[in-house]
Symmetry: C2
Subunit: 306 residues, 2 copies
């Protein structure tokens, strides 16, 4: 089924205690669409870059069957640039530089040929832009959105407006607590469901993820990673694997969404094993299937009698 | 199969933001043996109390088929008393009063009829006492031990000595990090395995538990509790449910130990729903089975194709 992804495209400089990558391909739409492309092709992309955006990265997108008809290339402008530095625990990061550049007045336009896409993933951008994209669509079957604390703090009302229109909201644990003002994640999810999305996914990093599907719950384990090199893009890779698998199977039942959460976790686990996009840039179906099966192995137990 | 439990018996005063219980039945051996008694009977107990220990609580133990032959009753002494107060997050607690009383010079003696017990649970007491109990046993099939940060700080060498002799070590995440000096729990577990126990269980509270069984891993979800009233005894209830199920089935394979972890999590989830022992005092097999099945429901997913 057709999938449309909107979000940021960036050239990131990333420092972690284990290394540094300069002006490397990043942004929420990049991580999401690359992750999704392992499940469904083409992936339709809406975003904006400047004239400095490397041609070879455009070619890479095309190799992965990412449809760039909705990509605005502002030849006179510069691509969004973020420079972040992570602490030793990789949980706290500092934004050293944030140059919005062409992203500052991004006006997302959904090409006519994209407007009937059945699956829509609103990556992490200003909620007002997410809404603008949604409004150009012709009744998509499933709308998934991501956000970040920056918008919860700075654009709360616009975020509430977006929440009314989406089906699946993907956030991390601290964002869930911040939006709901509830410390307990099970209560937090219920409160968020009341704001609109009947399906809420709370990512808990090394502790896995919780899928709240109407009144049902699924608790997904985390992949047992001994070393994390760079958490950048993990959340977006999760979202991309998740919606990519749903678009591929065109089945939004609870049972299938559980599998989508495991595929999302699978792609996210590959993402953090290397720097930036390196972890997901060149995956294979075999690698993805093997890791999915590993998740099965360490979360399955047999019935018992008493 | 025969099960022996050693640990503390206490009269606790507990304050949480939601209420207070005064001089109520507590202690590691209490929570463990009560939890285990839902799976296997009799449970053999080694411990010490004073003359003030309520007769009705001794009768309660007997009703639950907890064999008190190894319980020393010091008529002239007073039972171990702990008075703790929990903060609003229920994660941090303050010990307001700790009166060791008869526990101060507890000399655990395993009655001859208990020495051939096949399953041994060394509850949270001084590691030197755990070792003393172990040394009185005649080649038990499985030795499980618990500990706490207090002993990691204050009796590290004795704890290392105990670790050499046990098969299963149950600790929480912060204790695992403290013992191993490793932030990553997967690395921490490997380091602890090198200290002796080939099986390590790391409890993560609201995030479930990890079972490391030689080179295998099982990730157990947490029960989705919206309200926790009192965390006292949760870890001991986990240990009791875990070893009780193993003693009942007499099967220490990885597959069966996964189920034992789920039964441990089940009993711990009942424990924290009420004050002190109230959550596990009067359980039924039906309630336990129903909750075990709920765990299955929210952690199972079906295979997928790519």
């Amino acid at each position: 089924m057709s999938l449309l992804v909107v979000g940021s495209l960036a050239l990131d400089t990333i420092e972690t205690p284990f290394g540094k990558a300069e002006r490397t391909l990043g942004g929420s739409a990049t991580f999401i669409s690359v992750a999704a492309s392992y499940f469904t092709q083409p992936v339709r992309l809406v975003g904006v870059v400047g004239g400095d955006f490397p041609k070879k990265e455009l070619e890479y997108f095309e190799e992965r069957e990412i449809d760039l008809e909705g990509l605005q290339i502002k030849e006179d402008g510069k691509t969004f640039h973020w420079h972040g530095k992570y602490d030793y625990d990789l949980n706290t990061r500092e934004s050293l530089v944030t140059e919005l550049n062409v992203f500052a007045d991004f006006d997302p336009i959904v090409p006519e040929s994209f407007q009937k896409s059945q699956y829509l993933c609103l990556g992490n951008i200003h909620p007002a832009l997410q809404k603008k994209v949604y409004e150009q669509m012709q009744s998509p079957k499933l709308v998934v959105a991501d956000t970040m604390n920056f918008w919860i703090d700075g654009a709360y009302d616009e975020l509430l407006e977006v929440l009314k229109h989406i089906n699946v909201f993907i956030i991390n644990d601290s964002e869930a607590r911040e939006i709901s003002k509830e410390a307990n994640l099970f209560k937090a999810a219920k409160k968020i469901q009341e704001l609109g999305p009947k399906i809420v996914i709370i990512k808990k990093g090394e502790h896995g993820a919780l899928l709240f599907y109407e009144n049902e719950l699924f608790s997904a384990p985390a992949y047992p990673l001994e070393s994390i090199y760079d958490p950048t893009g993990a959340g977006d890779s999760f979202a991309g694997g998740f919606i990519g698998y749903l678009a591929k199977t065109d089945d939004i039942s609870f049972e299938n969404m559980k599998r989508a959460v495991i595929f999302g976790s699978t792609i996210a686990s590959f993402c953090v094993e290397k720097f930036s996009l390196e972890g997901t840039r060149e995956l294979s179906h075999l690698k993805i299937k093997d890791r999915f099966n590993e998740f099965t192995r360490f979360s399955t137990f047999e019935p018992a009698e008493l």
